[in-house]
Amino acid sequence: MPDTPQLQTQLDAIEARFRQRLDDELDTLDALSAQLQQNPDALPNLRDRLHKLAGSAGTFGYVELGVLARDLEEQAQQQLEATCLDPQALIALTKAGAQLRPLLQRSEQREAQPQQLDAGSPDDDRHRRIGLLIEDAGLARQMAQTLDSFGYQVIPFATPAAVQAAPSLDALIIDTSPPGNRLLEHPVFQQAPGQLPPLLIISSLDTFSSRLQAVRAGAVGFFTKPVDLPLLERRLERDFSSQQGGPFRVLIVDDDTELTARYQLVLSNAGIRVDTVSDANLLLDKMHKFIPEVVLMDLNMPEYSGPELAQVIRLDDDWLRVPIVYLSAETNAERQMSALLKAGDDFITKPISDSTLLTTVYARAQRARMVSDALARDSLTGLLKHADIKEQLELEAERAKRSQAPVSVAMIDIDHFKNVNDSYGHACGDNVIRALSNMLRQRLRKVDRLGRYGGEEFVAVLPGCSSKDATQLLESIREAFNALQFSSGGQQFHCSFSAGISACEADAWADEELLERADRALYRAKQSGRNRLCRDDGVPD
């Protein structure tokens, strides 16, 4: 079972040693690449060292450094394989050392760390960095204030060039008014996708062509003036949450195990989680365990046809949303149609290139996640609804079981909420609910799952957290929430919540029971005076 603080300390120590070696390594790379022009024999050594750096830098959080090292390694490899050396390429490689060092410095400024290890403390997404490229000073100020109150870090920019020079942003909001403004034609916005953060475009014109222009610049959101700021914030939140939720889950149903293995490799190399079924009898069981977001299905299997299995899946209401994509050698359009009419959403024709497979699956999975996110979220708080948070709990419990890691559940209920509604009105009550949901969302970690379980009741699922870690985390949120001042009709008041926490750390893996135990602990917290936490970790008090 992971002892997270201990692990963190050990990893920190290794990281520090790696950092020390990295300095020497970059010096060596500098020296090696500098000698390259006089002495091409240095090339294999340079390649090996770049290879090593490519493998290790990313693991320690120096992601960009790792990517550049990989790129340079490939260039060196090409030169080694070439019959005669290309002087231009060699000159590029002699600058390898000099190119790498600034990336190290940049990473350090940002303290980029891919691992999220501190189970007990709030995570980084409290400080998502949002760039503003907005000329209208009034709008910029208002936007900065709103985003700041939601816990984002706002960075104003005066010019597109300044945006490019800035370290990575999580999103960029651009005001393209007044009409005729050519801001989006700036070279900064003509880069390949992936080079820029997600763009939200504000325009004074709501026309097809202004929307099209935004799409061509790579926008993920479009707003017309006057801007509905809460709506814009929700859009941001949605964009971030679609990046969350872990890797996509894809289930492959095919009796050809070799082909399946190949698809599995292609997809898992792209960071997608893949599970496979070759025996159709196990299909439904696997669906419930794995909860795929996309099903890839062979069209013709010995005992069943793809459309038959697709219909079996669709008989279950749980699986109405999951896209089913057939993999098939079938090129006859009519037969493809008839398969799609029975059930299923798309066809990929064999032989399938890696990129077609990946693009189709990715597009389907992304869309599916967006749709189920929109359906699953509560309209007041944007949190998961009752059934969906239970599903998340099942998923996390399953994952915990597999990795033998703990998982905690907190049930949170606002104290005397009826009094708030009665004294200040329902609109004010909604504000209290929204405030608590925002606070929970901002202070929990990216990996945690949060849902609105009932009227004023929330459930948080905290993977990797022991009940002690969870209690510590919730305790700090309880204090912060209790300190918040609400106002209504000139009156000021405070609210509090009680919470029950349960955890499973070794053997009791029943997720139903986790919820029940958290509920019982919540009841105890209420009974013993409210505004407090109680714990049920299976150990008698």
């Binding site: 002892d3 990893l11 040693r17 490519a54 493998g55 691992q115 292609v266 190399n269 597999r402 990795s403």
Partner: protein, 128 residues
């Protein structure tokens, strides 16, 4: 299924060796033997009797595929899954490693928090 306990990790880069050992020991609860070359791995196989081997592909001296060939000659290594770890992610290479008899491929950089889970998944596939 027998539980996975003993993992041998063959890797020449000391930083990666350390971080993988901690990740596998602390997160996964495995017993890990780190070897810094293919030759050291082959020499230690008999005494450590690994249930699974994680093998770096590009190493000075004996590289990953050569080490795999040598390991396969040892009776104690019969049926023991070997997973390649490599910074190269091209599918053709992965397919080639599979053809060499690798049970799986883990791509570097890896996330220390999920390394154990990746290893366990491959182990379970092998024993499914």
């Amino acid at each position: 299924m027998t539980a996975l306990e003993r993992i041998m990790h063959i890797e020449d880069d000391p930083s990666i060796q350390e971080v993988a050992r901690v990740a596998l020991e602390v997160v996964g609860g495995f017993t890990v033997r780190s070897c810094d070359s293919g030759a050291a791995g082959v020499a230690a196989a008999d005494s450590f009797a690994p249930q699974l081997v994680l093998l770096d592909v590009m190493m000075p001296g004996m590289d990953g595929p050569q080490t795999l060939t040598e390991l396969r000659k040892l009776p104690i290594m019969e049926g023991i899954p070997v997973i390649f770890m490599t910074a190269k992610a091209q599918t053709q290479e992965v397919t080639a490693y599979r053809a060499l008899g690798a049970a799986g491929v883990i791509i570097k950089p890896f996330d220390p928090m999920t390394l154990s889970e990746q290893v366990r998944e491959i182990w379970e596939q092998q024993h499914a």
